[in-house]
Amino acid sequence: MKHLPLFILALAFLIFFPFTPLMAQDFDASKALSDYLYNINLYRAAYLEYSSSKNEYLTYQTLTSQNKALESTKKLLNQRAVTVKTYLTAVRMKLKESTSILNYDQNYLYIKIDDEITWIPTSQAEYNSAGTLEDLVNSSIIFEERYPGQEALAFRALGQIVFQEESVLKDEVNSLIEKTEKKIAQMRETGEDTSMEERWLIQAKEKVKRSDAKGKEALGLIANFKADNRDKLGYWNQIQGLFEEENQYLKEACSNLREIIREVKSAQ
């Protein structure tokens, strides 16, 4: 009876403790994305409020309008910081889910993204302690100067995500080509004429080589994604175009394999 409270405490710990890692595991790429999308909506609302109070202050220049502008700007800058933080978290979670084998580029991106996510709350502390609009603007400039680097980092991560996903599919195509080649060899040993199938197989391998070249070209552009790139979206579209071509070649390789199977199954 003396030890009953201790027993209850231990029991409670044993019941609830296992849930903590489970709840942490529930936070996946999908949840991270929802979190980011929720925050960007809050940012848009805060931006409207800031715009209105800014116009009011610039028009009337009263103390009241100045205080209102100060509060709404603090709110906006905080929300902007949270939006960027949740965005980078979403990118990081997607990078983690899309890539199963760690490599140097991926590790590097993790470290850099984590650095940026860690830095953001320090900028928020500056906003909250600012007493004047001028202080807020100066604090904002520090964030604004850092953001292009964060953008470039995010694009590089997205490039890695797509590259890894395509690489996995390319490995699957190669695996199918290998199995098909073995089957054709087996048929040839039984005296079958497999010249047509072999021609299709050569074409399929050629398509995979071209696909590989496109992927490597895209990777080269991804590595060169810089903070000072003025048209980041245009540059990303260039990279994305190479991924489309890479994907198209893999589809064509699959079409060649489909022709082989058709030939193999048909007696004509």
Binding site: L33, T83, L136, M187
Partner: protein, 99 residues
Amino acid sequence: MPNKTLPKALLIFLPIILVVFLLGIYYRAQKTSAPTSVNQTEITPTPTSTDFVPSKWAGDEEVLYLETDLGNLEKKLSEVDLKQLPLLPPILDMRIRFE
């Protein structure tokens, strides 16, 4: 008087001959009228049956597995997200100023 009857006969028979001649041209034109389509279809021999005739490998287990795997792979290639639109960087105001 033969000079007077000849022009009269011509007046009567010439239109008749002309009408008959025109009718003849019309009927000939009807018989040999060009087809409405630009490409004339040629008469082709009756096609033979093109039903699929399976080879001895058609039921081979490995071939069928290859076919299934290929179908799954083609689906994955179509579904891969190459654009990553939801994860493109957000458009934020990076020029907060009061001027």
